[in-house]
Symmetry: C2
Subunit: 165 residues, 2 copies
């Protein structure tokens, strides 16, 4: 089996996770330099906290870690950093969990779909999120202008299925 598994193909498979973290940070560094954005200490650390976890983390989980490191202790600190990272596509928000995950396909702007484990909060991201023809047709017919689509499938990941048997 190959060792250098590619994060962008990652589902719930085992993989070399340190690579995800370093690759994700690098992409962000480059992107920010290119676009004259400031990936400050708090923002960069917030991203790395999410990258280190393949599960969705709540804003207050992130905040707790930032606090431990003296990088700000009040909610707005975490929410601002999360906001910046969201805006620039480095992380995504999981609506069903009110939580946040690092993007698995950083760099490209995309409208992702997610598989979310209701037990362990692990999240797999699919870049290809197109809605059904039916919904788009209904929107067109009724004159509704779609701006953003949320697609989140909740269920059990392979390990939790095993654990629950």
């Amino acid at each position: 089996m190959r060792k250098r598994q590619n994060c962008s193909l990652l589902g719930f498979a085992q993989h070399d996770h340190k690579r995800c973290v370093s690759a994700g940070l690098k992409v962000a560094d480059v992107y920010c330099q290119k676009h004259k954005l400031r990936l400050t200490t708090v923002r960069r650390r917030t991203l790395s906290i999410l990258l280190e976890s393949h599960t969705a983390l709540g804003a207050y989980d992130v905040l707790a870690r930032l606090r431990e490191e003296g990088l700000g202790s009040e909610p707005p600190v975490a929410y601002r950093a999360l906001g910046f990272l969201l805006e620039n596509g480095f992380i995504h928000r999981i609506e069903r969990l009110n939580a946040y995950v690092a993007c698995s396909h950083p760099g490209a702007l995309h409208n992702p779909a997610f598989l979310i484990c209701s037990d362990c909060r692990a999240v797999a991201e699919s870049t290809v999120a197109t809605t059904t023809g039916t919904l788009n047709r209904q929107a067109r017919e009724s004159g509704f202008q779609i701006e953003h689509t949320t697609i989140e499938a909740e269920g059990q990941c392979p390990s939790c299925q095993q654990a629950n048997q």
Copy 2:
């Protein structure tokens, strides 16, 4: 133009809304009787509050109305009623808004998709919510067991588009 517009075809079109309310309540009455469920005063009124509004209402909005009518004044009252109605498919939860809407196609169990106006919170429901082949394939391949899928498209409804020009 026909007067007796069918609620199940409703998008953002004008329609005879009183019919939605009475029809929705009737379906719930019959369903509960058939399944030996108790559509109590609080539950029935909660449903009618949502039926009366074509926009999504927060739990605390619902609670405020219940309170006015002396039907319970504390959060758990509203959340329990909403929970019952959700379980039995009479209403749906809009994740992006942390809010609730009456089902537009009551009776049939279904996995709906929504068009949500970010301005006025109006919601149109589509019964047909199938995810993309890609997401399902990824789930199958990785051994993820999908239990529920959320599909919510956010944007502007026709009236808000006009209003914002």
